[in-house]
Amino acid sequence: MSEFNRFLGTEKYIASEPLRNAVNVAIALGRPLLVKGEPGTGKTLLAHNIARALDKQLITWNIKSTTKAKDGLYVYDTVQRLNDSRFGDRDVSDIKQYIKLGKLGEAFVSDEQVVLLIDEIDKADLEFPNDLLNELDEMTFFIHETGETIRAIHRPIVIITSNAEKELPDAFLRRCIFHYIEFPDRRMMEEIVHVHFPDIEENLLHEALKKFYRLRRIEGLKKKPSTSELLDWIQALIAGGVSQRELKSDLIFVGTLLKNEADLLCLQENEIV
């Protein structure tokens, strides 16, 4: 049991019990952990905090719409090699020097276990996750140019986040541990705010949370405010020296919570003040 229950959250990051469980299962079984959830519920931060809590290095692979699976493994710099062949600067018969490892490759060859964050995997092409299946399963890949096989020295702890913009393929999902980060309830949210603002006045916090949850319950908001926006808002409230009474009568700094015009209009119609 000592192997298990390793990740318990950090002083800056409150992880719910199911989430802790999922993380630890993923670590114990050596499977990638796929995290989904509303934007702003701390999916990316999770990886950072796992790295911190377990005192491991974090390697982040940010996925963009143009990212190819191969980019994460290695890049073969052909143009450089062609160029060198022309001027004879380097020994071009040594292909190895033109192979640059990608983030996944880096994580594999690292001397100690690292945390690898594959951020926003759904941004990439639909086929992207399938192309990584074998690499994540076996934790090895093959470099065609040199005939070399890169094998993970220590299986990295892989955290994958997704905003569900695209559905992920079944074959990929089957290999993952999955967790959906729920929106924190009020009690948990209080804890989270306390972690970030230990000195916050209780009255202000209560009023702010009351307003915040009421705001979230308005039907028809395009983008419901999330944890990160709440934290920004509270910071603004504290910095602005807003008192509980002022907040009670008016939603101050609402711009930190609602980010588009339609939502602000919607708020006016609903008049939650």
């Binding site: 999922a22 299962v25 079984l29 695209k166 999955f178």
Partner: protein, 404 residues
Amino acid sequence: MFIDFFYTLRRNGVPVSITEWMTLTEALSRGLADSSLDTFYYLARSILVKSESYYDHYDLAFEECFNGIENYDRIRAKLRGLSEEFPEIREELLNWLRDPINSAYLSEEELQKLPKMELGELIELFMKRLAEQMGRHDGGSKWIGTGGTSPFGNAGQNPAGIRVGGTSRNRSAIKIAHQRKYQNLRSDLTLDVRQIKVALKRLRLLSKSGPEDELDLEETIDQTCKNAGEIELVFTKGRKNVIKLLLLMDVGGSMNPYAQLCSRLFSAANSSSHFKDFKYYYFHNSIYEHLYTDMARRERFLTEDFLRRFDREYRVIIVGDAWMAPSELVNRYGAVDYDDVCETPGIIWLKRMRDHFDHIVWLNPEKRDIWDRKSIAMIREIFPMFELTLDGLDDAVKELIGRR
């Protein structure tokens, strides 16, 4: 018991595979479940369920398999937690306790005191009743919420979502599973933005276009060799989606019930960045002389201009219930809007639309069962019509991609 769980999950529609089952077995054999049902619930969920839309199915299956094992502390905690967010819980509790079926167990004195009780007391009373009822009866009419009127009944659809036992199935059951708080994440019930987006993603035709900014390696090597080693970089055009999409939406009265569905479709299409061009317009009932860019402010322009402006390459999706008095479709001056003077009947306009564009479909939020109504049938003759559901959308996309 565990094998049963596997099949119960599958029967409940959770797509569990053997691979995942083996993973769970491995986890269990390593003692990761900690011999606790709670931990097991989360452990199994994180391994077996791969989308939050199946959390609800999972809850149902779990409840079916493992009922009668948990205690009441969890409901109590849940009630307290919920009451902070939903003040109306107190009312619900009161109502439940007052219900003749339940109040039969309360003394006169207790009944009198009910309205004045603190929330905490109410919860305690509720828990006591719950425990007594569960102890005394093996089902039957005195069970909690058999009438389905209270939020705690098995038919309760309260947003707070507490379900405390069904009549015969559960005695105490697993409360976490029982609460079914993931109910609104089920994907078979509604079409959400993500799913629409995924369906729309398939609406693509790749072709080489744009600036020449990708290195063509093969060609570069060829050219370099021909150049006797002098490097010659050859660039090529990237492959881009060339689909241009027009979305025309009916926003009239009869479409109001589907407003949310339509706005989901709209936001999915609008935020899908892979179209070469995307434009949207509104109309009311049928397309007449004008199309609207903003219905509320009545900003509009001539449909003729619309046809001139967009070439036949554009893919067109029309969303509407197509349900109106036939006169609104075939009569001159048939438009219901008084300021839309339409000399040409709507049906002619619709035919012009069809003749102009190569790919055009009609999505109808109304169920297929009523598609034999006059106006719908008439419009169906003009356009390929699909239901505004995920399957319908898939088929519509196929139609839009298909060669003409």
